[in-house]
Amino acid sequence: MLAKRIVPCLDVREGKVVKGVQFRNHEIVGDIVPLAARYAVEGADELVFYDITASAHDRVVDKSWVSRVAEQIDIPFCVAGGIKTIAQAREKLAFGADKISINSPALSNPSLIDRLQDEFGRQCIVIGIDSFYDADSNSYKVKQFTGDEAATKDTQWYTQDWVEEVQKRGCGEIVLNVMNQDGVRQGYDIKQLSMVRAICDVPLIASGGAGTMEHFKRVFTEANVDAALAASVFHKGIIDIQALKRYLISNAIPMRV
């Protein structure tokens, strides 16, 4: 049986792993490769590296650490941040990334998804979506350039429409990051994730809000996502991955152990 995946996310800035609250006030958590290796040993199913400054500051994710991770880590990993061209994507994949995740550049230029899919196949094309609940319009909307608060802006996209659009253009997976929940550890946004799950035919990764083991259980059982991504609960040692997996197995959720 296909296992549900536990995916620690490492936000990378200046070659270090950082974590902010609601995308702000980033503090350094540690070096990339030792943290990645630790998570692999502890039973992480996959890793995501987001260079959170890349899109906002028009820089491309530094390649050297991608190779170092690929040399030493024996689980899959995805690299995100500022990938705007086929050549940039090819470079990350050639350095050993299994998948590349596109967020802001896809919003600026949606045809990038089609071209990436044509070139590399959709299995390695992940679309990251930063979605927030807009109380004024009582709807979910997509934000762009969230790596830098000053550069962050609203888009014209409703989340549901963008989820449909990126699938039509050929992505292989979607990471839905619910911004209102990020870093505050109040639980995944089950309502929104369930809504997206219903229209998502590719694997769906939930992101934003994990604080307790029960939050993971709920997102798998109630929103039926394929994977749950989290950062601070793992970086700060609030949740141990092995203990989390044992807990989820005891709740009848298939996990790799």
Binding site: M1, K4, D74, D98, G172, E173, P203, D226
Partner: protein, 218 residues
């Protein structure tokens, strides 16, 4: 086991996961070379055929490098990984923009078709369990072990199946015929289980495979 002449070649298919496959062999201290040199491939003790992307572009690449006859003529252990496994078969319905099925290497008489996930998300992505046979590639691998898959096309269950998995339908997680074997999953990304499978491959030689086959025949 490893002598001075013992060489393992990873065929340079220009595909994206080439480095990942090389790193995985290096992690188990295997001496591997990435090359598209025909003489080096023919002289190797064992050969790895990696691949991601579409069957059509991979076959085109092998054709451009004049490697097709070289690969089909190999008598040493050959391991196809992911798309590399699919290339060992006769054909694939993964057409891309083409209207015809893609002709593959035709080494193993089975054909690649779309995975019928019965409504589950596609691609089939993540860690799934395999049921193995007594094939030496899976020596020491416990039944139900998890390995990492990413694919939307699959080889059906057939007489060539040496490991199976299930996602909507049962399918071949690995196939083999004579000295050729292929895995649909990514051993290079499958943690300790994947490393064990690569170690098992590294123990194989033309002689060990012949010995195993004659034992099976008896």
């Amino acid at each position: 086991m490893t002598t001075a002449q013992d060489t393992t070649v990873i065929i340079d298919t220009d595909c994206a996961n080439l480095s990942s496959v090389r790193y995985a062999f290096e992690r188990i201290k295997a001496n591997v070379t990435v090359t598209d040199n025909i003489d080096a491939i023919k002289a190797a003790t064992r050969v790895v055929l990696p691949g991601v992307g579409t069957a059509r572009s991979a076959m085109l690449s092998l054709n451009n490098k004049a490697l097709i006859d070289t690969i089909t003529g190999l008598t040493q252990p050959v391991l196809g990984v992911c798309l590399g496994m699919q290339l060992l078969t006769t054909q694939s319905t993964e057409r891309g923009s083409d209207t015809n099925d893609c002709q593959c290497l035709g080494i193993i008489d089975t054909a690649i078709g779309e995975l019928d996930s019965q409504g589950l998300p596609l691609p089939h992505m993540g860690w799934n369990q395999i049921t193995t046979t007594a094939h030496p590639l899976f020596s020491g691998i416990a039944p139900g072990s998890y390995v990492y898959f990413v694919h939307s096309y699959r080889a059906p269950i057939s007489q060539y199946t040496i490991a199976s998995s299930q996602y909507g339908e049962p399918f071949s997680a690995a196939i083999a015929k004579d000295n050729f074997m292929g895995v649909q999953f990514h051993p290079e990304k499958s943690a300790a289980i994947g490393a064990q499978i690569l170690k098992n491959f590294m123990k194989m030689t033309s002689n060990s495979l012949n010995l195993q086959r004659s034992e099976v025949a008896q």
